[in-house]
Every structure is written in structure tokens, then in C-alpha cells.
Symmetry: C2
Subunit: 160 residues, 2 copies
């Protein structure tokens, strides 16, 4: 489980560096699909990851809008403020938590029952999916996207 | 590990159904980013998944081009022919395989050392990333993409 979060954090850092070479106008430009923009996507990924970690722990959620975070600096600061709690939760994950029940109410009012294991994998897939969207938008502005490869990042400890 | 493969197969099936409502011209249309088209992406996902499963087992690879598979029917048939071997490998996965070493030679000739656990997660991330690209292209042709949600698919056995 941890390895895929580390993959996501590593890829996310690569995208932040990539953003440093792109004009702010391009980062904020409205685009088709997903949440509709490059920097907004990074904000959304960070927001959703933290919100799930908070929800699993029965803590209050994050509900601010992207309008308050329209620069790389602000999105990075937001991430830095969330990271310790996210990391502590993820790095302390163990198989005993896998089947804990999480009851959620969907936007249309139905009660949904998920396991913590499902929620964790939902978070992982959520980020990778949105990063896939960034890769298309990158090509649309004639930029090479960040590599999505998981191998080659040295994520398996102890074999290199 | 298995749950994320099952997620990918479930989402992939949803995309095949989605493709059934789209004209063949749209499915084959050249698009920006990724491998450059909707049906080509599904072909590529299926090709790469099977190729990795084969490589891990030291078996021969799949090297055919998309040019021979330019219809939903052909891509689905290819998937059906690969599925039993992929499924057998994934469903028999166990933690004891996690740190097995896989030596690969990159396109530029370097030898790379990965663990089987890394390769499996690489395969998972690879598909989710490409599906994210489909979601942008779907919006570009004014279609609602398939949901990328992992929760709500009943993937955790025994709690529903």
C-alpha cells in the first residue's frame, strides 16, 4: 500500500517541478475534462487525499475552494501543511486496518459502506487518474509530460 | 494487490461498453497525448499488462501492432485470449513474490533491477494513467467519461 502512495508523492513532486517551467497563465488556463486545469488538478489531488485521511479518522474535512490557491507556491504550501498527517497515517497502515468499515453518505443521500482498504486504494487511483489527465493537457501545449513509470524510481527499499 | 487489478478490469469493461456508443471513427481518431487514440489506448493497456505478466514468467512477449486490431471486437477478442493467463498470475499473487528480482534492459541499453512487487504496481498505475487520458478525450467529444471511482464497485469481498 505504502509504495503506491510514495509513487504518487514522487510523481506529484515531478509535476510541481514541471509546473515551474510553465507560465502561470497556462497553469490556470481552463481546460477540457477533469477539474478543468493543471494547477487546479494538483490542488484537487492534495485536497482529496487529505480529506479522505481526515474522514477515515472521523476528523473534520477540508472545504476550501481553489480560488484561494491560484499559485504554485500556495498549492505547495497547502501540501506541506497536510503532508505530516497524511504521511503518518499512510506509513502506519497495516493489514489489520484493511477490513474496517467506513460508512459514508453520497452526494445524493445514499448510505454507502466501504472498507478502509477500498478507501485507501480509491485515493491512490484517484491521483493516478488525474495525473493521466495532466499528461494529455501537457501534450496539448506541446510539453513533454512527467513520466508515469513506477519502476525506475527506487521505490522498493533494499534492492539498490 | 488483487483488488487494484480487479478495479482496472472493471473500469476497462465499463470503457468497452462506453465505446459501444461511440462511432468507430471517433474511437480511431488521432488524438493528442498518450498513444494517440481511444481504442488504441485500450489495446495498449491490454498489450502491456499481458507483456509484463509474460516477462515476469520469463515467457515470450506480445509484439503486434494496433494496426491489426482496429475494432472493438478485435481488441475484446485479444483481451479474452490474454485474460486467463493474466488472471491466474494475479489471483495467485502472494507476499512471498514481492521482493523477487526482475532484471530488465531498457530501450537505451541500461540494465535495470526491479522487484516483482514494483512491476505489479507499475502495471496497475500504467492502466489507471492511460484511463485518465481517455477521460479527457471523452469530454473533448462531449461525452461523459466512465467513473474512475474505486469505492462503490463492491470490490471488497464479504462486506456487502
Amino acid at each position: 500500500m505504502q509504495m503506491m502512495f510514495e509513487y504518487n508523492w514522487d510523481v506529484r513532486e515531478d509535476w510541481f517541478k514541471w509546473c515551474g517551467e510553465i507560465s502561470e497563465a497556462e497553469l490556470l488556463e481552463k481546460r477540457t475534462g477533469g477539474v478543468g486545469g493543471i494547477l487546479h488538478t494538483l490542488f484537487h489531488i492534495i485536497d482529496v487525499e487529505w480529506s479522505w485521511i481526515r474522514s477515515l479518522q472521523g476528523k473534520s474535512d477540508f472545504n476550501e475552494s481553489f480560488e484561494q490557491y491560484r499559485s504554485i507556491r500556495q498549492v505547495r504550501e497547502l501540501e506541506a501543511s497536510f503532508r505530516p498527517e497524511v504521511e503518518a497515517f499512510v506509513l502506519n497502515w497495516n493489514d489489520g486496518l484493511e477490513n474496517r468499515e467506513f460508512r459514508d453518505v453520497t452526494p445524493d443521500g445514499r448510505e454507502e459502506l466501504d472498507t478502509w482498504g477500498e478507501v485507501m486504494r480509491h485515493m491512490i487511483a484517484h491521483e493516478i487518474h488525474h495525473i493521466g489527465q495532466l499528461s494529455v493537457w501537457a501534450r496539448e501545449i506541446d510539453r513533454k509530460p512527467v513520466s508515469a513509470n513506477l519502476i525506475g524510481r527506487g521505490l522498493a527499499s533494499g534492492i539498490r
